[in-house]
């Protein structure tokens, strides 16, 4: 019972914050809405038994990435965006196409996929740091090393792109 209530609350918060992200004019409002989406998704990961991923979500996304976003918004003093002309196709067909997209996906999930089970909180806790770490450092060792090189390249790229030209 309690996990149904928790799921519904978090799903509503996530969807409302997602709508707010799309509808707000000011980037800082969008950033705060995105933090709301990420926090409620972390709770959903916990309900699905993925403890390590939930903590990583809060630390990496809710912490590091969003601080970076808010920092850049403050640094650039980004104001509200100006309204500009949209194409007639986007104005007429945009929302119906998106609704059709969600409808088709929901139909595929409910109708075409083999019957999925239900989620009971605590019935499967496979996502502890121990289990994830064990798989990450045995089966997925090579992707892990490659991705650490990718992080290094990204750091170098960010430094090169954002540095001041010193003559």
């Amino acid at each position: 019972m309690i996990d149904t209530v928790l799921f519904i609350i978090c799903a509503i918060v996530a969807v409302v914050c997602g709508f707010n992200l799309v509808l707000q004019k000011h980037p800082i409002s969008s950033a705060l809405s995105l933090i709301g989406v990420m926090s409620s998704l972390a709770v959903l990961y916990l309900l699905l038994g993925a403890e390590f991923i939930a903590m990583t979500q809060m630390i990496v996304y809710g912490g590091a990435v969003m601080v970076l976003f808010v920092f850049v918004i403050m640094l650039l003093n980004a104001g509200s965006e100006k309204a500009s002309s949209k194409s007639w196709f986007a104005q007429i067909a945009g929302v119906p196409l998106l609704l059709a997209f969600v409808g088709i996906l929901a139909f595929l999930i409910r109708g075409v996929l083999p019957p999925l089970g239900t989620v009971a909180f605590g019935s499967w806790v496979g996502g502890t740091a121990e289990h994830v770490g064990q798989l990450l450092f045995t089966t997925y060792l090579l992707p892990f090393e490659i991705i650490s090189v990718l992080i290094l390249i990204a750091i170098l790229g960010a430094v090169v792109l954002a540095r001041k030209e010193i003559d």
Binding site: S30, L44, I53, Y61, F69, V102, L116, V132, A154, G157
Partner: protein
């Protein structure tokens, strides 16, 4: 017993992905477009973790971990690009950055 069907998680993921697409297409500020991309990545992570629960395997969670790492790297590089755009052009409106438009 009020257990949540797994398909609800997948439908929520689809809704969040569609919202991300809408933000990506409709918004005009570079930073908001970038945040919409993060929203799409997050919604895909949710369905990875949901399928990981369904199959009772951790592989899906490892993939969502990799998605998170790539998204963090992408955020660092993308925000540096946004800084450079602002330094060179003094604007964050995405339709004013059109020097490659024919």
């Amino acid at each position: 017993m009020g257990h949540v069907p797994l398909s609800w998680y997948l439908v929520l993921s689809a809704i969040l992905f569609a919202l991300g697409v809408a933000g990506f297409v409709y918004r005009k500020s570079v930073i908001t477009v970038f945040m919409s991309i993060e929203l799409m990545l997050n919604s895909v992570n949710l369905s990875f973790v949901a399928f990981s629960y369904q199959l009772q395997r951790i592989d899906g969670q490892i993939y969502s971990f990799f998605v998170m790492v790539v998204a963090a790297a992408e955020a660092a590089v993308g925000l540096a690009i946004i800084l450079t755009i602002f330094k060179n052009r003094g604007t964050l409106q995405i339709d004013e950055v059109d020097s490659m438009k024919l």
